[in-house]
Symmetry: C2
Subunit: 327 residues, 2 copies
């Protein structure tokens, strides 16, 4: 039977792109659309046919364990996981863990006794026995800890270097870095990327550590800006923190981007709704979820993985919270 | 066995509040927290015990069919459904329909052949055969169409009257109402609420119909404000549309709230991240999801429903896009 992978290969695009096209969700370029259409036709790929396998597979349930679906980073991931899963005839059980190891254990222990095929896990607890001893396929998403578990994440270090360089190139010389929680690997990678890039640059910098949380970031930044009015650039490790920083600047009457430039990290859609629109280091969140789902399904179906560590590239999206590059 | 309902009754709070407390998610007042703690203790209610029933029930899967989890209104609903489901030993399958009847039909037809206990459905398609002939419990959420299906929704009409009155009370005399899609009952109820309240008021008004979509709302409002600079109030039928209106105002250099006041509808957390913060008619989104989940579980477990139509009250949250009331 023709698979979505065959279609992707034929069309010369990613599995995620084919999935987006088939599910009618998310951006697909005109060129990719044409290529996928042609490949579907040529390979005689029956779209609705796959959904029928919903009824024929044994373990066609995937558990998606994430901290909290109301954190705006996770819905896009969940959407991608579900899209790809559906395309392959799987359905997705949503598990909000609140980063509580006890809740995660409950989910894994109870679901593994039933019909679950495997888990996609966003957690800091990957070393815990309920993951290491599970004897079911697991793919880690966003956060790597346990090296025995395949992982999909962004290139966080490079992304942070990119964001830092963007502030320096735009003339910032007094930069505040809003570091995320120390227990989160992606936050630490971003911190390292910032430190590597700022090292030796002709700029002063400070680092504040805080949660990826709007109100707390707003309060942290407001206090900091009052004490350090010379600050001319803020690089936040998440878009939600960046939104808090922008709000603090507005509250203090600071002109963004003229007197203070702000860059976030994530690329969630909320960024464009802010005024000015948020410049950010964007992760390809949909691609991350799609690749993780594809990897898990391969594991469930005993297919070989081409790679156990997949890093998704990031890119800078320039909006209104930064000025043009000074040459 | 003591149930969560017993705890709620004893504590004098809603099932949703107990669920929030047990799952450590969402706001619970100090008073409610104390009452729930006391009730849990007095009734000797074992929190982890319920999760064990995950493994003992036959149909412990709930299908949650919603348009798109990346629309910021739905993650809060999904979170509440999952929290309550978990408390009762159920798990939730996430189904993104893209409001595509074919996808909805696929989900219901395939899942009903398996182990699904019932569905919570957010859809305009409730009259379709795959719902009317399903022979499984269904609860409609947010959107009522088919009267044979129990429904949980906000008091949309009253909410719209509340928002309209808020603009009038704050001196607005040239009001633009951003109406939502005509195929959506909640959007129509909001339109009726607006019309009932504006009728006879000493104010001019216009109505523009558009999707609950940021960019399209921004464009619609930008054109309108250019043609009608006398506009001093905008009431948008969703927070995302209101964010678009605010962005348009900023783009045109219009002072919000001094020269133009804006009110949204929904109460999603993004509203507070905007500058100024968005005044909005807030739905109790979590309560809606929690009540719907409780109703569905009752139906699955053959318990009587006390009501087939549950309307959740709304309230006005005043932030920075409106001025103080003129007396």
């Amino acid at each position: 039977m023709t698979t979505i992978r065959d279609v992707a290969k034929k069309a010369g695009v990613s599995v995620a792109t084919v999935s987006r096209y088939l599910n009618g969700n998310g951006y697909v370029s005109k060129d990719a659309e044409k290529a996928v259409e042609a490949a579907v036709k040529e390979l005689d790929y029956e779209i609705n046919q796959v959904a029928r396998s919903l009824n024929t597979k044994k373990s066609n349930l995937i558990g998606l364990i994430l901290p909290d679906i109301t954190n705006p980073f996770f819905p896009e991931l969940a959407r991608a996981v579900e899209d790809v899963a559906l395309t392959y005839g799987y359905t997705v059980i949503l598990c909000n863990s609140d980063e509580n190891p006890e809740k995660e254990r409950n989910y894994t222990e109870q679901l593994k006794k039933k019909y679950i095929g495997g888990f996609i896990v966003i957690s800091n607890q990957l070393d815990a026995p309920h993951y290491t001893d599970i004897k079911l396929p697991i793919v880690a998403l966003d956060r790597a800890i346990n090296e025995s578990v395949p992982i999909v994440s962004s290139n966080n270090r490079e992304g942070a270097a990119l964001g830092t360089r963007a502030l320096l190139d735009r003339g910032c010389r007094n930069i505040l870095f809003l570091r995320g929680p120390e227990e989160l690997n992606p936050a630490n990678d971003r911190y390292e990327g910032f430190m590597a890039e700022i090292d030796g640059a002709d700029a002063h910098f400070s680092v504040l550590t805080g949660p990826f949380h709007f109100e707390e970031s707003e309060e942290l930044v407001e206090s900091f800006l009052k004490a350090h009015p010379e600050t001319d650039g803020i690089f936040a490790s998440s878009d939600v923190s960046a939104a808090g920083a922008l709000k603090a600047a507005h509250k203090l009457g600071i002109d963004v981007p003229e007197d203070l430039q702000i860059i976030g990290f994530d690329g969630i859609s909320m960024g464009e709704m802010l005024s000015p629109g948020l410049t950010t280091v964007a992760q390809d969140i949909y691609e991350m979820g799609a690749v993780a789902a594809r990897m898990l399904i391969k594991l469930i179906e005993n297919q070989p993985l081409e790679e156990r560590f997949h890093e998704v590239p990031v890119k800078l999206i320039v909006r209104g919270t930064t000025r043009s590059v000074r040459t």
